[in-house]
């Protein structure tokens, strides 16, 4: 924890001026005119948005900005009123959530969904794709799935070790702390070998000691070639790990840019601060100090 090197940032992700809806060099996810209203309230109204491949993108914005709703729309857990969006060139409009996940776009939930009355290891094994024993007929013949299941178990244990949950493998997930459940949900999502990981407030409720290791895990995902899109309120963390930041307010994308520049934009300051315009954003949103004075500037 004491040594906290600044991670290698990916740069040169966008084309032209960094502005809401700007083009990316290599977008993995492209959103067009996605709009969702609840009664009279417009929760999401995104004209154009591209998420860069192989980078960590932070989606920030005040409470009620529509971040979770956008996640739900993009992953098929909710349907928009209008709009199209595609993932690696395949249109996802009308594709059910489980198929979206099968295609490699996997999400976690703001309200953690640990499968309480399954063990930690069972939770993990559920994440693995293409399991032979998950089809009804094969299920009756362990000779078909036993070997694969053991291999999945080994992979799960490796991940659990990385997330420091290996000692808990036989405990019910219900017995974990809130932070450990967040970790478990993230580890379980990784069992699917995702291409794009979408984390909805992965650090919320995680104690500071664990936050550091969670951040390292997120950085590790990028090193392994995954693309990460995550929602986070703490600006220090965003500045620390994100390569690109998308700011939402009242359903719209109001700013985009690299973490250092975007927070100085007037639209972002307005969205977050209202009156307290001369305060540093990191001080307002930060819960803990995890970056050295140097890179917080």
């Amino acid at each position: 924890m004491s040594s906290n090197p600044t991670p290698q940032k990916s740069t040169g992700l966008h084309v032209g001026q960094a502005a809401p809806g700007c083009k990316k060099v290599d977008p993995i996810l492209t959103v067009d005119n996605v709009k969702k209203t609840f009664g009279g309230l417009t929760a999401v109204d995104v004209e154009h948005l591209e998420i860069p491949r192989g980078a960590i993108t932070a989606l920030i914005g005040p409470n009620g900005a529509g971040k979770t709703t956008l996640f739900n729309l993009l992953t098929g857990f909710d349907t928009p009123d209008t709009g199209t969006w595609d993932f690696q060139g395949t249109s996802l409009a009308g594709v059910p959530s489980f198929k979206v996940a099968q295609m490699g776009q996997v999400r976690t939930f703001q309200l953690t969904k640990a499968l309480s009355l399954l063990t930690v290891l069972e939770n993990m094994k559920l994440g693995a794709k293409g399991q032979k024993g998950e089809s009804l007929l094969n299920a009756l013949m362990p000779s078909i799935w036993k070997k694969q299941d053991d291999a999945i178990g080994e992979k799960a244990m490796e991940l659990l070790k990385r997330f420091k949950l290996d000692a808990k493998k036989d405990d019910f997930a219900a017995s974990l702390s809130g932070g450990q459940r967040k970790l478990l949900e993230m580890a379980r999502a990784l069992m699917t070998d995702p291409v794009l990981v979408m984390l909805d407030e992965p650090m919320a409720g995680v104690n500071p000691a664990l936050t550091q290791s969670l951040l390292e895990h997120v950085l590790g995902l990028k090193e392994q070639g995954m693309t990460v899109l995550f929602v986070e309120h703490d600006m220090h963390m965003v500045r620390h790990i994100a390569d690109w930041v998308v700011v939402m307010a009242e359903g719209r994308v109001v700013a985009e840019g690299s973490p250092d520049t975007v927070m100085k934009e007037q639209a972002v300051i307005d969205a977050y601060l209202g009156a307290h315009q001369d305060t540093d954003l990191g001080v307002v949103t930060g819960r803990i100090k995890i970056v050295s004075e140097g890179d917080a500037k």
Binding site: F98, K99, T108, L118, E134, T192
Partner: protein, 330 residues
């Protein structure tokens, strides 16, 4: 009081065709509710489909008994599809409402005089077990006439045949449930019980899994109805909503998310029933209970209700269940 008769009759409740039929139905509910989290309040409907499907196939279409039973099973699969397709995408409570209503509709369809030629209306169906052409269930009885067993568990040849058949079906179904629930398929099913959105987010087709669980549990229920039908007549008065709740009681007694709980729960339920049926009128006659002996025999249903309440409050996981694995309060 005649204690010998009371004890004898109580012990006999341990193994009867009815106990076996209940165990099968409770096993179906364990699949539905205990493992998949599907609230099925129409298990009596599944039993009715099994019983009527079998009897009608034999009486109206002249099929041999085993083919008639296959018809009953196909009927239960169709019933599951009918119930599941519109409801399994919705929240869990919708299935509960739809199953309880569907089971009632079904019973009324069997009861109405409109289809009397086929369903027998209020008289029900009989004469399908023993066929003049020798294709009936009773015609295939391998036991020569005589008495079998010992003590309270003495049966005639007809009954022992039903019991043997019921035991085989129950053993096969129990094995199937066990084999399924220890597999990765069972893991997905239990995951759905916990949180179906989490399972969707992992790329599993939740609707398909729920439908499969509904069909399998429904098949167990329909087989329970067939065991009942193989023993006695098919009567619409049996497949009422209270039957559903008795099966639920048996399930919760043993433990909903267990393999042997439903079987043991059914045995306890029927042993208790036999005991109360015998002792309550005796107590009334002896003047210990201040009611008539007729009132006394209905008192047992009151006691079942109280027992169910106590169970849900104090031991929701049942006798065999792990307290942590199944409680009603989530």
């Amino acid at each position: 009081m005649n204690w010998e008769a009371i004890i004898n009759n109580t012990a006999a409740g341990l193994l009867t065709p009815t106990t076996l039929a209940f165990a099968l139905a409770a096993l179906g509910l364990a699949m539905h509710f205990g493992f998949a989290g599907l609230l099925n309040f129409g298990i009596a409907g599944y039993m009715a489909i099994g019983a009527y499907g079998y009897a009608i196939a034999v009486l109206t279409f002249g099929l041999p008994w085993w083919a008639g039973m296959l018809v009953g099973m196909v009927g239960s699969v169709l019933f599951s599809l009918l119930l599941g397709i519109p409801t399994l995408r919705l929240r869990g409570d919708y299935l509960a409402i739809v199953t309880i209503a569907a089971a009632e509709i079904l019973r009324l369809l069997f009861l109405t005089t409109a289809f009397e030629d086929i369903t027998g209306s209020a008289d029900g169906l009989f004469g399908y077990n023993s066929r003049p052409d020798g294709s009936g269930f009773a015609n295939s009885n391998p036991f020569p006439p005589g008495d079998y067993g010992f003590g309270p568990w003495t049966y005639n040849a007809e009954t022992i045949w039903v019991i043997l058949f019921g035991l085989i079906v129950l053993a096969v179904c129990t094995f199937l449930l066990w084999a399924l629930m220890r597999s990765p398929w069972g893991r997905v099913i239990k995951g759905i019980r916990e949180d179906e959105d989490a399972i969707r987010a992992l790329g599993k087709n939740v609707f398909n899994y729920k439908m499969q669980a509904l069909i399998i549990g429904g098949l167990f229920g329909s087989l329970g109805g067939m065991v009942l039908a193989a023993y006695s007549n098919v009567s619409p008065g049996v497949y009422v909503t209270s039957l559903t709740f008795f099966v639920w009681t048996a399930l919760l007694l043993g433990g909903a998310a267990t393999i042997f709980g439903p079987v043991v729960g059914s045995i306890i339920f029927w042993v208790m029933q036999a005991f109360l049926t015998n002792i309550l009128p005796e107590l009334a006659n002896a003047g210990i209970l201040p009611v008539s002996s007729q009132q006394a025999s209905t008192l047992r249903f009151v006691l079942v209700g109280i027992g169910l309440m106590l169970l849900v409050i104090y031991r929701p996981q049942g006798i065999f269940g792990d307290k942590r694995e199944l409680t009603f309060v989530k």
